[in-house]
């Protein structure tokens, strides 16, 4: 090698002495050292800050994802799920999460974890953010670090309250959790003051317990006297004030809710987790103030053989008539008899020991002992009717005197069994059913059909033209009657009567004329002379005067009293007649009377009646004329002539004064006895005859006859109706209307005439009643009778005139 280099320049010794290692060291080494330092530092820090791993076991970890699902506390991330695994027995899902180191000390026994998922409820939407971000695990613990744990049991649902929330937790006990749901509000005066937890059925299968939380400060409102009731749904109450519908908030309507009120003060402050009974409604709750709500109840079973239809959960249990509990459960149970299996109905009774008289602190065991004792003495359970109408039953515990031996089966499962006795059920329902069946069997349809037909017929009858016209016919009848009354013939009757009276007056005038004539003739002179002779020639003037006086006295006293009494009696009879009850019916039946009147009117005879009346008057006139012309004046003339001759005889025989006096006396007596007496007698007889006429049974029966006549008219009308001649009835009614109108007019204008017409009609009626056949002969007879009556009346009035003024007989006036 040296050979090879020998021709070249000497080697440049490039190998210098090595400097110290530090000088040779490059500054570039700083870079990896820094990198290392940084890396190690970061690694250390991340390790040092690593959180504490905890283990949470869930039944269902739906949505929990390793590495993503966060652990949150008050909505702030405090950790993250690292792994999700199963427990070795696959029972649970184990979620391993790492939480911040500074949080870990607080994770003690009271820490709770639950998975927050989106939830749509009646009260809104919660956990909506988890829809996008996925579920997270919410944790809750108090601010008081105690013994830290790393293993927890996760909750299935969120707790109703957070750990540090102020308030009081209570427990509500009910038999029906259907209306309750977790998260439902607790209301007081309509304000939400708390929240309900999830209802949980207890082991006995009957009781439902609900955790509830009352927020502070409202929990101070709750004492042992507080009553809770269910406000779910709505209630309808029907009372005197009408129907009232009570609806809570919509949330409570759908979700349920609980309200409470402290009905009376003085309750003890509640304990933590105090148990309250939840009543079905406010009224029950308020009424239950003296209920032993918070005390445990004794559950006993009763096995009834027969049907328990009508018994329901909540039915009363009575002991000697007092409520001691209620039916808690109804169910069937198979009795496994060796001979034959049978089903009995098991009724579970919840008996409140305090109500059995055992005192406040009685326990169910005390009550059970007491009941066992009672059963030994004959206590039995039976069903009795609680409400007759509804047929609901209640369970009654009664002591049966001669009950067969039985014991309270304390060992029975699940509840002790009370023996039963024969039930006492009044089955009103069956009886009511029987009644209803009978009602049901009634031919209501047929009756209704008949009634409808009847109504149709009546309707048709009323709507028929005839009936529609009936009022008009009545009016026509009245018009006819009015026409009759207003007819010139009838109107002329008063005139005729006036004429009769005039005739009578004429007769009287003629009588008076006779008297005047007598006075003017020699009779008076004869008498005057006779008197003069008497004055002149007699000495027994006083006796004659006395005799004349006595004659006058006699004449004066002549039957006047009797006459008056007769007249009075006649008037009385008329009065009696007027007061006859039958007569009272006359006005009532006036319309019907008018019907008869119409009947009379329809009769041509009646139409002729005015003519007859006129004839009567004429006849009376004729009679009076005759009387005037012939009888009376002649007789009077004769009598006066006889008197004159007598006076002449007196005059001639004045010498024989006593005899004359005697004769004069006798004459006077005779005159008294004969003429005046008979005259008065005739008047009296006339009055008697009037009285008799009025008093005759016929006259007495006149009202009845009228009634019967009216009945006949009624029958006649019936016949008319049946005959279909309604138009006639209408005409008759119209005539009656007119007649009534005319009568009214006549009555208003001529009361006197009316009275006379009344008498006329009465007589006519009497004649008619006596002689049913209205023949002209009878009319003639009637007119004759009336003539006689008129004559009698004339004589009577003459007699009255003479009686009133006896001197006219002498003076001629």
């Amino acid at each position: 090698m040296s050979d090879e280099n020998s021709q070249r320049p000497a080697d440049l010794d490039v190998r210098q002495a090595k400097p110290s290692i530090w000088r040779r060291l490059s500054f570039v080494w700083i870079v990896p050292i820094l990198a290392l330092i940084v890396s190690v530092t970061v690694a250390w820090q991340s390790f040092a800050n690593r959180g504490v791993e905890i283990e949470i076991s869930f039944n269902n970890a739906s949505g929990v994802t390793a590495g993503e699902t966060a652990i949150k506390y008050r909505d702030v991330d405090v950790g993250q799920v690292e792994r999700v695994e199963f427990s070795p027995d696959l029972q649970e899902v184990l979620v391993y999460a790492r939480v911040d180191k500074n949080i870990a000390p607080f994770l003690d026994a009271d820490a709770k974890f639950w998975v927050v998922r989106p939830e749509v409820g009646l009260r809104g939407v919660s956990g909506l953010d988890t829809v996008l971000s996925g579920v997270y695990i919410e944790g809750d613990w108090n601010r008081d670090p105690q013994v830290a744990q790393t293993a927890f049991v996760g909750l299935e649902t969120a707790p109703i309250t957070l750990a540090d929330q102020d308030g009081s937790a209570i427990v509500l006990r009910t038999n029906d959790g259907s209306a309750l749901s977790a998260g439902a509000p607790i209301l007081h005066q309509g304000i939400e003051v708390g929240v309900l937890g999830s209802p949980e059925l207890q082991d006995d299968g009957l009781t439902v317990l609900v955790d509830a939380f009352i927020n502070a400060p409202y929990d101070k409102l709750i004492t042992t006297n507080t009553r809770f009731w269910d406000t779910a749904g709505f209630s309808v109450s029907l009372g005197a004030a009408g129907v009232s519908l009570n609806v809570g908030s919509l949330a409570s309507l759908l979700e349920g809710g609980v309200a409470f009120d402290t009905v009376v003060s003085g309750g003890a402050p509640m304990k933590d987790l105090q148990v309250f009974d939840l009543f079905s409604d406010e009224e029950t709750a308020r009424n239950s103030l003296f209920n032993d709500a918070g005390r445990p109840k004794l559950n006993v079973a009763v096995l009834f053989d027969g049907s328990v239809s009508g018994l329901s959960v909540g039915s009363e249990v009575r002991f000697q008539g007092l409520r001691v509990g209620q039916v808690a459960e109804l169910g069937a149970v198979v009795i496994d008899d060796p001979d034959e299996a049978r089903v009995e109905l098991r009724t579970v009774l919840a008996i409140e020991p305090g109500r059995l008289g055992l005192g406040e602190d009685a326990t169910p065991q005390d009550a059970l002992d007491l009941l066992a004792d009672f059963v030994g003495q004959g206590l039995r359970a039976r069903l009795v009717t609680g409400n007759i109408l509804s047929g609901s039953l209640v369970v009654e515990l009664v002591e049966v005197a001669d009950a067969p031996e039985a014991i309270l089966d304390v060992s029975a499962k699940p509840f002790p069994v009370i023996p039963t006795t024969v039930s006492n059920i009044t089955d009103v329902a069956d009886q009511a059913q029987g009644v209803l069946n009978r009602i049901n069997n009634l031919p209501i349809e047929e009756i209704m059909t008949s009634a409808i037909d009847l109504m149709d017929s009546a309707n048709a009858l009323v709507r028929s033209d005839g009936v529609m016209q009936t009022p008009e016919q009545v009016a026509g009848l009245l018009a006819d009657a009015r026409g009759l009354i207003g007819s010139p013939a009838l109107q002329a009757v008063p005139d005729q009567i006036a004429a009769v009276v005039e005739q009578a007056r004429t007769i009287l005038g003629q009588v008076s004329g006779v008297m005047t004539m007598v006075g003017n003739a020699d009779l008076v002179g004869s008498v005057t002379r006779t008197v003069a002779n008497v004055e002149d020639g007699t000495r027994n003037l006083g006796e004659i005067s006395a005799s004349a006086q006595s004659l006058l006295d006699k004449v004066n006293a002549l039957q006047v009293e009797a006459l008056l009494s007769q007249a009075s009696a006649a008037i009385d009879s008329l009065q009696v007649l007027a007061e006859n009850p039958d007569l009272a019916q006359v006005p009532v039946s006036l319309t019907q009377l008018l019907d008869e009147t119409r009947g009379l009117i329809a009769n041509g005879d009646v139409q002729a009646l005015p003519g007859e009346l006129r004839n009567v008057a004429d006849s009376a006139n004729q009679i009076l004329t005759d009387l005037t012309a012939q009888n009376v004046s002649g007789q009077l003339t004769n009598a006066i002539a006889a008197a004159a001759s007598a006076a002449e005889s007196i005059d001639t025989a004045s010498q024989q004064l006593p005899a004359i006096t005697e004769q004069l006396n006798t004459l006077s007596a005779n005159a008294a006895q004969m003429d005046l007496q008979s005259l008065a007698q005739a008047a009296e007889n006339t009055l008697d005859s009037i009285d008799a006429l009025v008093g005759t049974p016929s006259a007495q029966a006149l009202p009845a006859s009228l009634s019967s006549a009216l009945d006949e008219v009624q029958l006649f009308l019936n016949d008319i109706r049946e005959g279909g001649a309604v138009e006639n009835v209408n005409a008759a009614l119209l005539s009656a209307n007119n007649a009534a109108q005319a009568i009214e007019d006549a009555a208003r204008t001529l009361p006197e005439l009316s009275r006379q017409a009344g008498a006329l009609v009465t007589n006519t009626g009497a004649v008619l009643s006596t002689y049913g056949d209205r023949s002209r002969f009878n009319a003639e007879t009637l007119s004759t009778l009336r003539d006689i009556q008129e004559a009698a009346d004339a004589v009577s009035s003459l007699a009255k005139a003479i009686q009133r003024n006896p001197s006219s007989l002498i003076t001629g006036r």
């Binding site: 070249r8 490039v14 040779r24 060291l25 490059s26 570039v28 870079v31 990896p32 990198a35």
Partner: protein
């Protein structure tokens, strides 16, 4: 013998010829010169601290490469999810989505090439003093490849930078670079510096020294 072994008979290095060449402008000077007459650059026959620098940068690159693979490279946040993916995890995801080509590119560019560079540089640095497996020409070619390929290793970082700049849609979708992006970039830079610090003339010296 030696020339036979290396197949370069009669060749000597500039150093053996008592010359020193300027590495910047190529001017050859006499052995004692310390500064280039032409470009005034420092003249040095051999960089005595070359291997130190190589190792230092190499170690720094390897250190930086560790977090680049542990920490997430890309943080993708959309409405529904929040994804942090590492380099290897991303490649695996791509495989799972059957994007084998892209997965291969990502895996080669981000995993194989950096690691290959570490190995290659380490081998070159070691081969200066130790017995050689490869011939001098082969080692020099390896060096060329390492130096050439170094710049392309930043492709991952570029992708992350572009995505981060483009996908910023507020709450809907956001892509952010993770810690690994920075680490990876540092690792690449350190590796490039390491390759740059290697004086390839030592390859030939070593051979000469050995002989």
């Amino acid at each position: 013998m030696e020339s036979t072994r290396h197949g370069l008979p009669g060749l000597i290095t500039a150093r053996e010829a008592g010359l020193v060449a300027c590495t910047r402008c190529g001017q050859v000077h006499a052995g004692g010169a310390v500064r280039c007459k032409r470009c005034h650059g420092p003249l040095e026959s051999r960089d005595r601290q070359s291997l130190q620098k190589v190792w230092a940068w190499l170690i720094a690159g390897i250190v930086a490469f560790i977090p680049a693979n542990i920490y997430p490279m890309l943080i993708t946040s959309t409405l529904l999810e929040h994804t942090e993916s590492t380099i290897v995890g991303g490649a695996i995801q791509l495989v799972e989505h059957h994007n084998y080509g892209i997965a291969a590119i990502v895996f080669v560019a981000s995993i194989m090439i950096p690691i290959g560079k570490f190995i290659a540089i380490a081998y070159l640095a070691i081969s200066v003093h130790r017995h050689q497996i490869l011939k001098m020409h082969q080692r020099h070619r390896l060096y060329d490849v390492v130096e050439f390929i170094g710049r392309w290793s930043m492709i991952d970082v570029f992708v992350v930078a572009i995505l981060s700049a483009l996908v910023q849609l507020g709450g809907v979708a956001t892509i952010n670079p993770g810690v690994a992006a920075m680490s990876f970039a540092l690792s690449v830079v350190f590796t490039m510096l390491s390759a740059l610090a290697f004086d390839p003339r030592l390859i030939w010296d070593a051979d000469r020294t050995a002989s």
